[in-house]
Symmetry: C2
Subunit: 264 residues, 2 copies
């Protein structure tokens, strides 16, 4: 848990940054070769942000993510689809980031059903490139919220690969209303009436990873162009006094607990 004051104030502060000189400077610094000048080093060789970024093709990125799912699964696939291309196109810090270490994001972290690896991987990528909010730029933080918001509200899977392993007409679409693997996969399995081990479920998850990578790259490209605008302004800690999602009643029903508010 972070300092909630920052979370509570994060959105408005981030929104204030959009279009200001602070953002413009950040965007200008994304051109190749300038990243060292914007150093916010804490001791690590790559802890200088933003990392140099060149715009990627969302369609091509999604195709890579779809293919990579069958090698390194959801979180690894999203990370590989962006970082792998930037290794080739940019080099630098992307060369030393160990993509394959993130296979463990599968199944909501080694099968525990917590956050789906697709938004978890997308969040990692956004914050690698843009850097943490403590280094001054809040767009990595905000794109993370947008990754989870998109994942939760989209009719997943959105992306259709050029050469799908499973006939797309056999893959039903569902809205998870949650970034959690257990909820997302559970709702899909119920709608499809298919087990976890079915080829359809696997291809659904590969296409979810591809959909997440597509949307991530759209946002990163907009950030690079200076046109990124957050699509999600929800702050659970601000509205409800606790970290969480936007849909309390889905789990709590009518009995949504009140967070303690007494200050000592």
């Amino acid at each position: 848990m972070s300092d909630d004051k920052t979370i509570e104030n994060g959105v408005s502060r981030r929104q204030m940054l959009i279009g200001t000189g602070a953002l413009a400077a950040g965007v200008a610094a994304t051109s190749l070769g300038k990243w060292v000048e914007t150093a916010q080093a804490q001791g690590g060789e790559t802890e200088k942000w933003p990392w140099p970024y060149v715009k990627l093709d969302p369609q091509e990125t999604a195709e890579i993510a779809y293919k990579e799912w069958y090698r390194i699964f959801c979180g690894g696939a999203v990370i590989s689809s962006v970082i792998g291309q930037l290794r080739e196109k940019v080099g630098g810090p992307y060369k030393t980031f160990p993509i394959d270490s993130f296979v463990f994001l599968e199944g909501g972290q080694v099968g525990w059903g917590t956050i789906c690896g697709s938004p978890a991987g997308a969040n990692i990528v956004a914050n690698l490139i843009i850097g943490p909010r403590i280094a001054g730029a809040h767009e990595g933080h905000q794109i993370s919220a947008d990754n989870m918001d998109f994942y939760s509200k989209a009719e997943m899977p959105v992306f259709v690969p050029k050469n799908p392993k499973i006939d797309p007409s056999k893959i039903v679409h569902t809205v998870s209303d949650s970034p959690l693997c257990h909820i997302s996969v559970g709702k899909w399995m119920k709608a499809a009436n298919l087990p976890l081990g079915s080829p359809e479920r696997k291809d659904r998850c590969a296409r979810v990873a591809a959909s997440s990578a597509y949307r991530l790259v759209e946002m990163l490209n907009a950030w690079h162009d200076g046109t990124y605008k957050p699509t999600n302004s929800f702050s659970c800690s601000k509205e409800n006094g606790i970290t969480g999602q936007y849909n309390c009643t889905e789990c709590h029903g009518d009995k949504v607990p009140e967070a303690p508010t007494a200050k000592k």
Copy 2:
């Protein structure tokens, strides 16, 4: 979501590996200078596992994590406490891993209340060092499950720092029965009757990060010595046909849905 066959069979396969030549080779390779020989490169300069590891002091690591929480919050603090020391003691790939990018793990990923940053950060560290299961060693995967199992079942916070910012007698202890931030923090806030913004809640989370770092280093040290044994053998996908935790009824009550089992 990963290939569930691997998740379903993962524990027994991992357990089979314990004490075999495969594990012994992995352990031997953790001595400095040998990591290049055990390369499983996929293209990245650091995608050779295991990364060289030297045993760390759990107490000292936890003290660092406690302090770092107040700079980079839960996930970043756990990562920094281990990777930061290894930058100094080992160098190599630890120098280029961008610790501060992981501030976003705060609040269950930018305040969305999904997996707490403490186990999420611990999972990242284990898999950076040991590598992904697809590279042949399953201990990183298993330590991740143990990170979440410890986090869920311990009377948190376990660790007491030498110089606590808040009198330890004012910090109540709770069992989350979940790796999720929303659940863990919510149960603690209810028991303590204190708000998210209270100094006690913040210090509780700093101590949870420290507790997670302590336990992680105990396991990494055992892995280095060849004595690591998984403490958690639960596989939700194997037992229930879906990714998830061990306590279905806590959320579902008596109406735990059956996962579809029909094979096409």
